[in-house]
Symmetry: C2
Subunit: 319 residues, 2 copies
């Protein structure tokens, strides 16, 4: 369940577009009005507002937001206003082409799209990627990521899993053993491993991971960790987390983004914007269980101004 | 270009449904009327007829066709009446689960879907497969096909290529060399090879194959043949043909289906039903070039009755 609050009576897309237009005009921008409108509409409603705004004013709402806003607030509002598949395609492209950060931490965006999204969403992201960037996401992964990581990422991102609960206990047992073999032999890009993680439905994989724990007395992610601390290990672990419990993964992302000196706003924004309509309630719960403190307070403590108000609105706070 | 002939003035879906209903009633079925209607409507129009028929008579048109018709004629009409993604999902499932034939010839259906379809069609087939059969096509490939063939098929079927003309001559040269390496070392399931064939757009791959010919003085499909006559070799060759020239591939399928004693109706039906709306004109041309005789005459010579009339209607003949 998400935390997004849509009012009981939603203004029409035309009313919302007019109110947005008004917020942009005059001296300065009325950020509060913008947050109240965009921050309280679901993806379908935002899509309609974008279309209506374009028709009414012959102007792209996204471009207008870009020129009116700035900083982390701007990034967050724009990501939120884009269609979810387009948004994820852009997030993926940004990290693949710009190679923004060192290490593989930034590749977690790809893992989240591949392993913590519905199969139909992943397909829609691949479509959006091709139309926006004139090549497939797999091609960009391959030009920017070296083997053996490439193989794992391409396998995961190409998946179209059965989107239902269909668990075969024998398969779970058999495939837990195959995963164990690959991990024991430190072959983390073994064909079988990539195939199992990239093909089986989420319920089946959860059953397989549970079987792994029962049969070998160790959690699969811990076992992967024992292979080493390289890039492949951390990415594979992340994939297991995203499959097994996306809410735990995102609670960790939020935590990591505010821990220590300074805040990683990009990660914080990504976690809240991409999950506010999906499972942010559960993420909030997991966050509390892990840290014995509330996610909302953490966000309030580490952000400020319109950026804070916007994130808090997505977290269900009343403005 | 296809051979399907849609009349200039198309009756409404309601008129078509009523005419079909009439054709089913009374003594015997009026096959000619059915052929005239269904055999001269494109996929969208057929979809509307199915929906309208269901609404008007509270009966599935597909089930009614199943009970009214028989033999190869029935198979052809039903495949044609299904939505193309649903049709291909069913064709794939039939050969994967029923293991109808020996050898790997039957796997050509999978190759055709993966390599001779548009990326969006392939995605739609994967979606249809999941909703019809409660598992992904990749899972069924894996349970029914052994490595190394499995790896190649899963790689091809998972692709979502950029659907446009974007050719990089350097990439073509580089990847022709990588393909050559894999083929020379008889590693036909090499990660690189599977990745290149399963990821690059069709225009890029054609350029790469041409580069292969120029650099190494041999066509890539002939070079694959020189590796041996096993299953992997034939499937890989077929993939190259479907990518390089689907019309040649399907001209060969039609030829093979009527050559020798007896006719392979399933293959003949598949080739005509799946390509009548896509590139049957080109297939007809290729067929003539290859065999110095006309495809239409071949079909007329090897089929009879309503089955013949139906196939010929899809080939643009007037009933």
């Amino acid at each position: 369940m998400g935390t997004l609050r849509v009012p009981d009576v939603v203004p029409s897309p035309t009313e919302d577009s007019k109110a947005l237009r008004k917020a942009f005009q005059g001296w300065g921008t009325d950020e509060k009005a913008m947050i109240r409108i965009l921050g309280q509409r679901n993806a379908k409603q935002r899509r309609k507002i974008r279309d209506t705004y374009q028709q009414l004013y012959n102007e792209s709402l996204i471009l207008r937001l870009e020129s009116e806003l700035s900083g982390d607030f701007r990034k967050a509002v724009i990501l939120w206003t884009l269609d979810p598949p387009e948004r994820d395609a852009k997030l993926a492209n940004e990290i693949l082409r710009k190679k923004k950060k060192n290490g593989v931490d930034h590749l977690q965006v790809i893992i989240e799209i591949a392993c913590a999204s519905s199969p139909n969403h992943l397909m829609a992201v691949r479509k959006a990627y091709c139309s926006l960037f004139d090549c497939s996401i797999e091609e960009d992964i391959a030009s920017n990521v070296t083997p053996p990581l490439r193989k794992l990422l391409v396998g995961l991102v190409s998946s179209y899993r059965y989107d239902g609960e269909m668990v075969d206990a024998n398969v779970a047992k058999l495939e837990a053993a195959k995963l164990r073999d690959a991990i024991e032999n430190k072959q983390l890009d073994h064909d079988q491993l990539v195939w199992i993680l990239g093909t089986r439905n989420m319920f089946q994989l959860k059953a397989t991971f549970e079987c792994y724990r029962q049969s070998f007395g160790i959690l699969i992610d811990q076992d992967i960790e024992s292979c080493g601390t390289g890039d492949l290990e951390s990415i594979l672990q992340m994939a297991v987390w995203c499959i097994d419990s996306p809410e735990k993964h995102f609670a960790k992302v939020v935590r990591a983004s505010i821990e220590g000196l300074g805040t990683d706003e990009d990660s914080l924004t990504r976690a809240i914007v991409t999950r506010a309509e999906i499972d942010m309630m559960k993420i909030r719960g997991e966050y509390y269980n892990m840290n014995n403190t509330s996610l909302d307070n953490a966000v309030i403590g580490d952000t400020s101004g319109d950026y804070k108000d916007f994130l808090m609105t997505l977290l269900g706070a009343k403005l």
